[in-house]
Point group: C2
Chain length 309, copies 2
Amino acid sequence: VSNFADRLLNAIDEKHSFLVAGIDPSIEQLPRCLLKKANNFSSSEREAAGFALSLFGRDLIDAVKEYVVGVKIQMAYFEVFGYHGIKAFEEVARYARQAGLLVIADGKRGDIGSTALAYAQAYLHQESDIDALTVNPYLGSDSVQPFIDRCSENKGVFILVKTSNKSSQEFQDLICMNRPLYQHVGEAVCRWSKGLKGEHGYSSVGAVVGATFPKEMENLRTLMPQVIFLVPGFGAQGGSADDVIGAFDTCGYGAIVNSSRGIMYAYINGPYTEDDYQQAQKEAAETACRQINLALEKAERLPLSFGKS
Amino acid sequence: VSNFADRLLNAIDEKHSFLVAGIDPSIEQLPRCLLKKANNFSSSEREAAGFALSLFGRDLIDAVKEYVVGVKIQMAYFEVFGYHGIKAFEEVARYARQAGLLVIADGKRGDIGSTALAYAQAYLHQESDIDALTVNPYLGSDSVQPFIDRCSENKGVFILVKTSNKSSQEFQDLICMNRPLYQHVGEAVCRWSKGLKGEHGYSSVGAVVGATFPKEMENLRTLMPQVIFLVPGFGAQGGSADDVIGAFDTCGYGAIVNSSRGIMYAYINGPYTEDDYQQAQKEAAETACRQINLALEKAERLPLSFGKS
């Protein structure tokens, strides 16, 4: 199987999970034992920071890999440390791939066609460890096309439609010709997604739709029947398992749900100490996975292949 | 002087130039003599590519620094080569700064608040060699705020308003409440720019407005009197010197004009051979600088401080 959407849906059936673990590590929040180890192995502060991000990301993958179909690596947190950070990003992406997880690079890139081509080459070239990239649509079709082109070569994209932050209403909800801007973007994503459907009926061109706006999410689900939603905003950002149900179709497919801080930082303010950060992350991932499946079961949308949750 | 807008306007007066040299190097287009040198000094293909980008960028800076106020480094072309590319990006940014040029990182970043904070930390921290970053506004105010916050600490931002590519009309020109989306974004940029004005009356919060849409540019100039325009699309993308005049106020300030391919690749299809790439770039920069000044003089908008062009 090479189509990205098919690979994603197969992983869901295999793991009985819709969960994606977000890797957005902020150096100040990392366990002190891990920072100490990183300092011992490094000759500069930035090198140590890169080492710590890499180690933390790889440990997180080991902790949660049973319960997630993939990871979403937030590039900003790695870019903070320049090329040391990017080296860590590459190590984490490779490690996730070797663990059999799908790898989403959350870079929200977007630029004019010639530059978008360079971004597509950077993250979605054939040998890359990255399976899919998040893309910002503000510049329109010619800026999105180079990423779409990679979707016929087994890669995927998730295009920002309605984001999870409060200010997303400011421009995304502006009414243009009787419907909000995000709906125009959703219609464009539908057009872009055509011709890239896999055997399961979903396209490798997906959309980012925040869990914090359940009503808008339901409308978009109807508007974009063949588009997989990457749903951020679950957990620390305020979205509950019930809030994400609208992202799924009646058979229980069509969405993956990201949790970053809720899993990654489970060792802060929880029953575990920092030294047991992996155990804390593992339990948080298991809980999040089960919460989503239970909410789907309650809504009678759990896929048949899952059996009982 | 610490305010970014003041530093930019002072550089314009000092150099008698509104030109910014874009550094968007695509490895396939680089002079063969330079690629050969890079290969000799490197142990892997990606390392050689990073070395070549760094060398090309630094040579370009040496060639054009008399005629430009700054450089705009397009991050995508460096990200193509992973951490080797980012290392080159950092070297080029440092070199430009040491040459007394303003450094704009063209990354078009944009994400929810907590992540935007990480991007601001990555590119606009106090010790960074980067003076300003381009930012995508699709996620609204809370995603832009962390960058704006850096503008009171002598950094700058340029927010995408109306981009130079053909598809920019697709979403940016959608009519919402009787005016196009880009105008709503322009109004938001006006709000964000308040309180960050320097002594010359311009704010360190700027806007990206493409040279390929002169009419829209003139409307935006009126709408955003205190906002500096970063104008891409001049030269290879089709914008002429006359097309950019609308970006300037009646005193001849308020805009900087970027040329990437027209200067960077001046050795391709020109009178010079690849071996003389720096001479070709130097003449192209001088010509572009003069064309803009002449067009301003013709329009009676050349700043008084320039004397005769």
